[in-house]
């Protein structure tokens, strides 16, 4: 099956937005898709502005579906993908990519794990070879597992255990907001579970999920589409498909009451509040309005929460957040998600004062709704941010790969600005009235630990025992 959108040049599509007087400028890049006989989906977008490329291969497995008793395993496994194969031992991957003038990385998220590279175009063939090679088999080495277990535990220390706030708004908040293991567990991993991971676990996870028919490979850059399809066919088509386990249900039982808790933090002197509202499913009618509401409340100094909490009432120092924040955009996930607010506030302010001001802000959104001008402004910003997310080949490859992984098509990547332009103030207001209510939220107040007591409170998040 082969789809082609557009021709081999960029074009600007001018469409009149429904409500705003100025026409919205829409941008699309020519993009094509092909499915190999082993199920691997390949997406190519040509961009001849520089002699480089970006590549992303996303697998349909994230930490939501990692096994019980193995929290953090999807991410630990991601590290093992960089530890070599029988053909290309540990170190070859980085030597080849960096020696080709490029860079690489991997990211584990709720519903996907991505491997990304960018380099001058001369490195395309060896990079494709490397991606195909680690989809054939890995070096299942105990020594490398021990090494990466140490590295990952240092990663958890640097980002969680030794860090003020310890990502509590990203790890503890879903832990409290959700009730089932897939959505609530500590995705960075309890050390007990990381320590328990065995080489058999690595093998099994690889055999279950790392299959061509569970992956989307996207390539963006100074390439000819047909040539790329030929190259990918050459390197990947002999890799056999696997039986990938069917995706289990990950829906949550309904939340019926507000959830409040307090944590102490011995590494910070400034308190912070995290608030998470459960969101509608990604493709439900309210989903785009949810994304717009999230940005109206959180996007930059013009946002409603910044203006009211930081500037007007002066009860907060900073405000961050949005739908699926901070682990991705409001459009890139495939299961239960939160709209999260992370608010740092002065010690002179109480949690009640801050929450009262926050609630008044939400109440105002529900009672009056945003103005048309507010919606137009934030939608323009979201369009600009989304294009920013497509600017560099490596980022555009990521976006194309995620959309195709979740929906079987990359159309959403170019459709998002148009969908956003259709959102009305009434839809935002209706969304807020339905979802931004206390019974649908979880609040964690993270306060500095009392100084004189030697409390060991910087414990692991996510209910580690």
């Amino acid at each position: 099956m082969k789809f082609t959108v557009g021709k081999f040049c960029f074009f600007l599509l001018l469409v009149a937005a429904l409500s705003y007087p100025a026409p919205a400028q829409q941008w699309k890049a020519p993009t094509s898709m092909k499915k190999l006989s082993n199920g691997l989906i390949v997406v190519v977008s040509e961009d001849h502005s520089a002699p480089t490329f970006g590549l992303c291969i996303s697998y349909g497995i994230g930490f939501r579906l990692e096994p019980e008793g193995r929290t953090g395993f999807a991410h630990l496994f991601e590290h093992m993908m960089f530890e070599g194969t029988p053909n290309a031992p540990k170190g070859v991957l980085d030597r080849v990519i960096e020696g080709g003038g490029g860079n690489n990385n991997g990211d584990t998220r709720y519903d996907h794990t991505e491997y990304i590279e960018t380099a001058p175009i001369s490195a395309l063939d060896p990079v494709l070879w490397i991606e195909a090679d680690r989809l054939k088999t890995l070096d299942f080495s105990m020594k490398n597992l021990e090494n990466q277990r140490n590295v990952v535990e240092e990663e958890v220390r640097v980002n969680v255990l030794n860090s003020p706030y310890g990502l509590f708004y990203a790890i503890d908040l879903p832990g409290k907001a959700f009730d089932t293991y897939p959505n609530a567990h500590n995705f960075y991993g309890d050390f007990h579970d990381l320590d328990a991971a065995k080489i058999e676990d690595v093998k099994k996870f690889y055999e279950q999920y790392y299959a061509p028919n569970n992956a989307v490979l996207a390539i963006v850059g100074d390439v000819q589409t047909d040539e790329v399809f030929t190259k990918v066919d050459k390197y990947f088509s002999a890799i056999p498909p696997r039986n990938v386990p069917p995706r289990p249900k990950v829906e949550e039982p309904t939340q019926s009451a507000e959830r409040r808790s307090v944590e102490t933090d011995k590494l910070t002197k400034v308190p912070a509040l995290a608030i998470g509202y459960r969101m509608p499913p990604r493709h439900s009618p309210d989903a785009v309005a949810a994304a717009v509401a999230g940005e109206l409340l959180h996007n930059g100094q013009a946002s409603r929460l910044y203006q009211m909490l930081v500037k007007e009432k002066q009860v907060a120092l900073s405000v961050d957040g949005g739908v699926n924040w901070p682990l991705g955009t409001p459009f890139e996930f495939n299961g239960p998600a939160l709209m999260t607010s992370f608010i740092v506030y002065p010690t002179s302010v109480t949690e009640d004062q801050l929450l009262a001001a926050f609630d008044a802000n939400i109440r105002d959104l529900i009672d009056k709704g945003p103005s048309q001008q507010d919606v137009d402004r934030v939608v323009t910003k979201m369009r600009s941010d989304w294009y920013g997310n497509l600017e560099n080949p490596i980022d555009r490859a990521s976006a194309l790969s995620h959309a195709t992984l979740f929906d079987g098509s990359f159309d959403l990547v170019y459709q998002i600005p148009e969908d956003l332009a259709k959102v009305t103030p009434a839809q935002v207001r209706a969304f807020a009235a339905k979802y931004l209510v206390a019974t649908n939220r979880t609040v964690i107040n993270r306060v500095p630990a009392p100084k004189d007591k030697d409390q060991d409170t910087a414990k692991q998040p996510g209910g580690a025992q």
Binding site: D94, G99, G101, N104, V270, L317
Partner: protein, 485 residues
């Protein structure tokens, strides 16, 4: 915990000099053995394809009648434009009794003009698809926004109003001072902030380059008048550059900018004179920044490196990429991929107008503080004493040139790079010149900068963590200890 059991060789380490020395010898042998066996690449891996020249940006330079420099990179197609304005004079130019004032300036410069409130500024920029980012470096203050090209004119209008008419309203300054004090408290909880603040104090002592942030006292003492004065001194067109990269036509944007900045005048008085170069003397000592409750030690080794425009700069970049500036570098291979001490080791050059720094960084669990320092010093000394292999050299050169091309594809990264060059008095062509110098670097040249900059005894050691842990762990090195904040 099982972690400690996995690395029993480290437990006895803190007991004294004797076990330390044995440890060092063993590690040296192990590391040399590793370095010598560079595994050949797999036979069937395809070679790199034909090289396409990595084009350097084509910059049009224009000077307006008022003295404002414009550097313009027209890249039609993708519908965004990155705008950056830089003026000379940053943290190092602040009044001595107001350290860090430039940071307060960058927090308040967009908080009002004669005709726009802070909220109006934020909303107008959001309607153009952008945010405003203002930041102070040691040598400059820079203001950036990335906007939709269809809304470029309105973004330029807001930017011009700020640059000419920022008014630093009293109420906004009062709020910004309070929030900056609290945010200082917040940052002081972060090991990397503590490390960089201590590092520049140790390296630059009394020279103004030691300032990385304001202090509680300097924030408390700062007034709107201070800000207005510094703003008037620095934000004059003859001391600034406006850089635009993206989707516009050169002639059209020049006309728009001419009109937008027509009232901005260069005053008759001379601009502030440049600061002098610091004279740096470094003690190979351990500077502890106590951070109670730390489960890791954040270790930085800091020394001087080439400044911006220094003839050594590019070859030192190559040496740094071999040492710790890439994932496949020696430092990462050693303390992460071989020993698993750390997630995020790295080294980098921080280059300023009048000085440069070379920094190695690693956050490691408390138990491996000593062996990590040992390995970092070993790898520094290895660069200082042995030339790179052919593969290392060619990989590092290609990495730097390739990464630079990839980075400068990004509109805002290119705008920021050009701003740094302008502030340093360098031309846009420097990007291409630097690339050629990197590509031409020889093993002998890398060896020479290795000898010059890399010997470990040239570095001060900054350690942020539990004071007792650090002292116990590092006592066997026999180096002087100092406690700094």
């Amino acid at each position: 915990m099982t972690l400690v059991q996995m690395i029993p060789s480290i437990i006895g380490l803190t007991s004294g000099m004797h076990s330390m020395r044995i440890f060092v010898v063993v590690l040296l042998l192990a590391s040399f053995a590793r370095a010598q066996k560079e595994t050949p690449l797999p036979k069937d891996i395809p070679p790199y394809g034909p090289e396409k020249p990595l084009a350097t940006p084509s910059v049009r330079s224009v000077t307006l009648d008022n003295g404002l420099s414009l550097w313009l990179v027209s890249e039609p197609g993708f519908p965004k434009v990155a705008l950056t304005v830089a003026v000379r004079g940053g943290l190092a130019a602040d009044p001595a009794n107001r350290p860090g004032l430039s940071e307060l300036l960058s927090k308040t410069i967009d908080q009002g003009t004669g005709t726009r409130t802070a909220k109006q500024i934020a909303e107008e920029l959001q309607a153009a698809g952008g945010d405003l980012t203002a930041s102070a470096t040691k040598d400059s203050v820079e203001i950036s926004s990335v906007v939709l090209s269809s809304r470029l004119d309105s973004a330029i209008a807001v930017l011009a109003d700020i640059l000419e008419n920022a008014s630093f309203p009293d109420a906004e300054v009062t709020l910004a001072k309070r929030n900056l004090t609290d945010s200082l408290e917040q940052r002081e909880a972060e090991p990397r902030f503590l490390a960089s603040r201590a590092r520049d104090k140790v390296l630059f002592a009394d020279h103004p380059y030691h300032v990385t942030s304001p202090t509680r006292d300097s924030i408390a003492a700062a007034t709107p008048t201070d800000l207005r004065q510094v703003f008037a001194q620095r934000f004059r067109p003859d001391q600034g550059v406006l850089i635009a990269v993206g989707d516009f036509q050169n002639d059209k944007i020049v006309a728009t900018l001419k009109s937008a900045f027509r009232f901005w005048k260069t005053p008759a008085n001379a601009p502030a004179s440049a600061i002098s170069a610091p004279s740096v003397s470094i003690d190979h000592a351990v500077y502890i920044v106590p951070r109670p409750g730390s489960v890791q030690t954040t270790i930085e080794l800091a020394t001087t490196g080439p400044k911006l425009g220094d003839p050594d700069f590019e070859v030192t970049q190559v040496a740094n990429a071999i040492y710790g500036g890439a994932f496949s570098s020696r430092l990462t291979s050693n303390i992460r991929e071989d020993k698993g001490y750390t997630y995020s080791p790295y080294s980098f050059l921080a280059s300023y107008l009048k000085a440069g720094e070379m920094i190695s960084h690693a956050d490691v669990r408390n138990e491996v503080t000593a062996p990590t320092l040992n390995e970092i010093e070993y790898e520094l000394n290895r660069v200082a004493t042995t030339p790179p292999t052919e593969e290392e050299l060619s990989k590092a050169k290609r990495y730097i040139v390739g990464l630079e091309a990839l980075r400068l594809q990004d509109r805002s990264s290119l705008a920021n790079r050009l701003a740094t060059l302008w502030v340093a008095g360098l031309q846009p062509e420097q990007i291409g010149i630097s690339g050629k110098k990197v590509s031409a670097a020889t093993a002998a040249e890398v060896d020479a900068v290795g000898q010059k900059y890399f010997p470990a005894h040239r570095s001060a050691i900054i350690a942020v963590g539990e004071e007792k842990v650090v002292r116990d762990a590092l006592s066997s090195f026999g180096l002087p200890f100092h406690t700094v904040q």
